[in-house]
Symmetry: C2
Subunit: 242 residues, 2 copies
């Protein structure tokens, strides 16, 4: 068990959806920000590891369980813990607690250190990981197996200027926007995710078109984001009726 | 001179652009949130006027001057003042101060009260406006005259699910995203706005396609957002080289 860090956050109007819940991509961005705040507090900020090692933290996998989503104007508590790491992968959890103190979301995430120039995964650097006091393990958490979609429905999206973050890459949250957007509005008005598995495979760059692929079977949707024949991300979402 | 309200805000990673500045649509959303915080403090929250009057505040015009944009991780102070009002229009200013206390942005905005059901502008209600102690004036601030674009370049956008806010309408900030996105990436990497005039004419609804129209002449760009032959918004932006 590694070090924990927590902070509170109030859901703003402009990040609330038609059901008065937080927009999912937004709460994931905020969670990521919270892990950055822990790094800063431990003296191992993103700026420092970029300056000292030319490395950046990148998320490769999410496993998300949702009891309910934080609501508009609700002040939630977000707690994160650096759980464990092996040669290449670092595992971190997030728990989101309602205003009344009940756990409503858990997020398990896998981080890797990416070499900023080569864009290749770098081995975990002991000096970077030490302050988090997380457990060194041998086991690799493989996550779920994603099967290639056989006969998906496809929708085309163009990467937009504001999709880019300050690294000049498409922000992680946009992939989820493309996945959501191919679903019917009536479905999104009446369902929320119960469980999400999401894997980032390869970055999307500016000026590229992407296809958001969908297979829907009852309350399960399966997604692929693809550009120029290359798989960028894949996901599986289990929904429940509101 | 009406009542003032101020708060601080730190620019998050995921709302910072490739130049390490805040994304403009985001800081406008945050400013709007700050005016909502003032309303709450004065006992006249958005929820209350919706419940008591079935009215909602809507922005119709912005006049924005930018010395520089807030930077990634900078903690800025946002101060707002309810300046004055006449029969239909309420005028409100925002000033954004840098971490060092220097004024770096000013935003003049025009608000109206919209009847939620009919979507028609309602006269200002004295009981709603009283707590702000703003000045009653006769004068209508007409703002700049926008000339219809004669021969614009056009780009098609489809309204996406996450463009909608909890009212089920396209959030104001998205219009600016469509306006920005038609500009060349190289231009956006090397220029920031100095002065922006923006007028919201008519709401865009889900499922609609919009055209983002552009005329560019040196360091001035002129914009229209149009759907189904109907003008939704127009803007003029003066840029300066970074």
């Amino acid at each position: 068990m590694g070090k924990k860090y927590k902070t509170t956050y109030q859901i703003p109007f402009y990040e609330s959806d038609i059901n008065q819940n937080v927009k999912l991509p937004h709460i994931l961005s905020v969670a990521l920000q919270v892990s950055g705040m822990q790094s800063l507090e431990l003296g191992m900020s993103d700026e420092k590891i970029f300056k000292d090692y030319h490395l950046v933290w990148v998320i490769t996998d999410y496993e998300i369980e949702i009891e309910r989503l934080p609501r508009y104007a609700e002040t939630v508590t977000i707690e994160t813990e650096a759980l464990s790491y092996n040669r290449y992968f670092c595992y971190r959890s997030f728990a989101i607690y309602s205003q009344e103190g009940q756990k409503i979301m858990t997020i398990l995430s896998t981080f890797v250190l990416l070499d900023y120039d080569s864009r290749k995964v770098h081995e975990v650097v002991e000096a970077i990981i030490r302050p988090y006091a997380s457990e060194k393990i041998k086991k690799i958490n493989r996550g779920p197996k994603y099967h290639k979609l056989a006969d998906p429905q496809e929708t085309l999206y163009h990467v937009r200027y504001f999709d880019l973050d300050l690294n000049g890459h498409v922000n992680n949250s946009r992939y989820i926007e493309w996945m959501y957007d191919v679903l019917e509005l009536d479905f999104l008005k009446t369902h929320i995710p119960r469980k999400i598995s999401l894997k980032y495979v390869k970055e999307v760059h500016h000026g590229k078109d992407v296809l958001s692929r969908l297979e829907q079977s009852g309350l399960t949707t399966r997604h692929e984001i693809v550009s120029q024949g290359q798989l960028n991300a894949q996901a599986s979402i289990e929904w429940r009726r509101l």
